[in-house]
Amino acid sequence: MNSPLIDEKGFYGDFGGAFVPEMLWPNIEELQECYQRIIAEKDFQADFKILLRDYVGRPTPLFFCEKLSRKYNARIYLKREDLNHTGAHKINNTIGQALMAKRLGKRKIIAETGAGQHGVATATVCALLDLECTVFMGAFDMQRQKPNVARMKMLNAKVIPVISGNKTLKDAVNETLRYWINHPETYYLIGSVVGPHPYPKMVAYFQSVISEEIRKQVFKKEGRTAPDYIIACVGGGSNAAGAFYHFLKDLSVQLIAVEAAGLGTHTDQTAATTVKGSKGVLHGSMTLVMQDKDGQIIEPYSISAGLDYPGIGPMHAHLFQNRRAQFLNVTDKEALQATYELTQLEGIIPALESAHALAALAKLSFKKEEVVVVNLSGRGDKDMESYIKTIDQFSKDEGYR
């Protein structure tokens, strides 16, 4: 597992590391000592690959969007992570980590979730592999993502509402960390490229199958070894990490990371960390975080529960700092427009998170022959409540063509 950019202490340049209280140290140390050896094992690799193929349905298609291409004057492809089992890229990572937990002899899995996609993916894999599953979810997020709460319950996971702070993703992570301190026998299956080392590196690796496939598929369809652009949304940043991974050192590829601007970066209702944030520690790693002058973490806002996070993974903070990736941001409204545009032009209803990546198309200017891959990280079923509320506002009689 030769991961790009990261040193042996878990730092991507200035960012990363493991800033955890002593109570968590033994848990982290155990993982740090074992994960690379386990991942390198032949039967681990075999199990992982078979489940990705036969259970998740990989490889996911790379779909050429004719009408979107015409509209934005480029060759636009969607990496269809929305077609994965459970409806998003999250399951790539949960399979990898659940296999890891089993090899560490752990039977009880704990996880946090924002939009509920990671919670559902975790509960799903736990059902498959006979693991006990407890998911912490902000009480506010439980309200706005009801279908996913129901799915987790059907899968026999225990969903614990988190009532501290803003009752969203940040607070769910805090509560899961606290539970882990009190129950060191559990395995914390973290859902994004955040948290103490080795989580960001491990999650990025499990998601790297996305860019591995993009490379092969672009070659097959375009006869080239890489696209010109890869666009992905960033909350914590796991789908972006996976989509960028194998192209990080290929400087001909422009990496576009899209954050949620919420009501706009000129307001305080936003989740655009690279605009509003500064260097700090959040959930055990040094990264960019939204904070006040005293280092208190500021509650973010986005219509998308999966992007409603006041930091980004340390790898992304590094990509931002050294300008390897370009960071854009997209408002709630722009994301909703992008949802309706894709729905009506290509017949695909995207998740609100992925709609942020799609909305970036309008902010970039391409050359006609350029190949652009948008990572469609998830499908929109879970967001139907938000979409139903806005259907009159965004459905145009004349359509989006």
Binding site: F19, N174, I181, N182, K279, G280, G284
Partner: protein, 254 residues
């Protein structure tokens, strides 16, 4: 650091109290410290309220949230401490999270701590390795003790390592848990205390987390140089009668 060194050289059964600055009210900090000093307390830990206190259980979380709603901030706490510096002789330790120290500017933070009369600092999530590489010299420059925590899950080797890095005393966490109240120590915890005793550390220890009453405090004193009480004390604070509630609580312990 002299006052706190002297305390550990001369005294046994050290009673240390933790509370969150700005809780229950913005102005209660000074009154709590003054009352504790007059009521047998040997060492006071002032909690710097934080938005994301991952090492803390529900009681301290709630007190932190309330303190932040009360508008407690670092500069205000420093000025409150400075104002009572001359009349307070009991050593004070500041307890917070690494991000607060980092954001303030590390050296500026330590300079301020020294200026307002603090003796030591605990940052729950600053790893030993980073302290060693980056901050040890700075803490020495400002004569501030940095105190490390160990838990029942810490190996002997790690406890020895941290005991050498820790200044003045080593904070022994009684169980693998976030902060909070428990009725009494179980066998597993007593075994851990005995394991620490056998290591013959060159530094005194205080036991914290899970001490809530006279029995658990005196048990802590049997195995260490004293105990630290946090959540139980915070629970006992009465906004309408700070002085009386502090006095009553201390009387219930010693």
């Amino acid at each position: 650091m002299k006052a706190i060194d002297k305390l550990f050289k001369e005294k046994k059964d050290i009673l240390s109290i933790y509370f969150t600055a700005g809780y229950p009210t913005l102005e209660s900090t000074q009154e709590i410290i003054k009352t504790l000093e007059k009521n047998r307390t040997d060492l006071i830990e002032v909690g710097l309220p934080y938005s994301d206190p991952i090492a803390d259980g529900p009681v301290i979380q709630k007190s932190s949230q309330k303190a932040l709603e009360n508008s407690m901030c670092i500069s205000l706490l420093f000025s409150q401490l400075k104002a009572i510096k001359k009349e307070i002789h009991v050593p004070l330790i500041l307890m917070g999270y690494y991000n607060q120290f980092l954001r303030f500017g590390e050296e500026a933070f330590l300079k301020k701590c020294k200026e307002v009369g603090l003796s030591g600092i605990i940052l729950a999530d600053l790893p030993a390795e980073i302290y060693q590489d980056k901050y040890r010299g700075l803490f020495e420059k400002y004569e501030l003790a940095f105190i490390f925590l160990v838990t029942p899950k810490s190996s002997d080797a790690r406890i020895l390592k941290l005991s050498k890095l820790s200044k003045v005393f080593l904070y022994v966490i009684s169980s693998t848990a976030t902060t909070g109240v428990k009725d009494r120590f179980e066998k597993e915890q007593l075994d851990f205390f005995k394991r620490i005793q056998k290591l013959n550390l060159k530094i005194p220890t205080l036991i914290g987390f899970g001490i809530s009453n006279r029995d658990s405090f005196s048990m802590a004193c049997q195995y260490a140089q004293g105990g630290i009480i946090g959540s139980a004390f915070i629970n006992a604070l009465n906004e309408k009668d700070i002085k009386g509630s502090v006095q009553n609580f201390i009387e219930s312990i010693v």
